[in-house]
């Protein structure tokens, strides 16, 4: 694959590569996090709570509405 003519002619590709090489450096994770995770991984079965997806929220909301409607209905019928 070839670069667009102006891209190469302007030396922009070299500049972009240079900029990437200059600026993208490895970062050092927090040592506390590293040792804490090591500890958790080595201390038995993984028990990581997964975040709930949105559909659980909608499901709970829908269920709540249905139950509320049923209660209101039953209340009205009982009067």
């Amino acid at each position: 694959m070839e670069y667009p003519k102006d891209f190469v002619e302007g030396g922009k590709i070299l500049n972009l590569e240079h900029s990437l090489a200059k600026n993208l450096k490895p970062v050092r994770p927090d040592p506390v996090f590293i040792s804490s995770l090591r500890q958790k991984l080595s201390s038995g079965p993984a028990t990581l709570l997964e975040r709930r997806h949105d559909y659980f929220g909608f499901l709970a909301l829908g269920l709540g509405l249905v139950i509320t409607a049923l209660i209101v209905l039953m209340f009205r019928r009982s009067r």
Partner: protein, 195 residues
């Protein structure tokens, strides 16, 4: 995690670590963790730009990997390739989460407390870096992955090909397309490369 009796202990190497870890060898788990945790963290951090979320996803990668290490199939590629694939999938899920997808303009980002401990403080905090990261994160996932593996992790094209499950030629081609796309994105966000 079980431990292996001392008499069966041999030196842990990249080649035997996975097999030993799948048998519950704690030392092998530790070996795999130490060799890979920083690079996986870096990959995730550069893809999503949040220290807290990078830590969360890094933890998930290792829980998932170590929890399913029995299903790992040796295909002659580094173990890290499997970890990167797990990370790649978790990042895709992360981006699908609508709550997290909202982008905060760079100028609106609060100053992080404890800057000395924050990874981004290890980077040169210049506008050039921020614009580059913004541009990179606008690329497709495979282009982002390639640029991060090449420039952050300093992998060769051959190593990247192994990790990404592509040929070396495909990686070269993808790299060229990534640079062109990045240049377009950089222009869009107002970054002009010097000629």
């Amino acid at each position: 995690m079980k431990t292996v009796p001392e008499e069966t202990m041999t030196e842990i190497t990249e080649e035997n670590a996975v097999a030993r870890a799948s048998q519950g060898d704690a030392e092998a788990f530790s070996f795999l963790y130490e060799r890979n945790v920083t690079r996986i963290y870096n990959y995730i951090y550069y893809r999503i730009g949040s220290e807290a979320d990078a830590e969360d996803l890094t933890a998930r990668v290792f829980y998932r990997a170590f929890g399913h290490i029995n299903t790992y199939v040796e295909k002659g590629v580094p173990f890290s390739a499997w970890l990167y694939r797990i990370a790649h999938n978790l990042i895709a899920n992360y981006h699908r989460d609508s709550h997290r997808r909202r982008e905060v303009p760079l100028e609106d980002q609060p100053e992080m407390p404890h800057q000395a401990d924050h990874p981004e403080s290890a980077l040169v905090k210049s506008q050039e870096v921020e614009l580059l990261l913004t541009g990179i994160r606008r690329l497709t996932a495979d282009r982002q992955q390639l640029l991060i593996l090449k420039f952050v992790e300093d992998y060769s094209n051959a190593e990247i090909a192994e990790i990404m499950g592509k040929s070396e030629g495909a990686i070269k081609s993808l790299y060229h397309r990534a640079l062109i796309a990045l240049r377009v994105e950089m222009n869009k966000i107002g970054y002009q490369l010097e000629e």
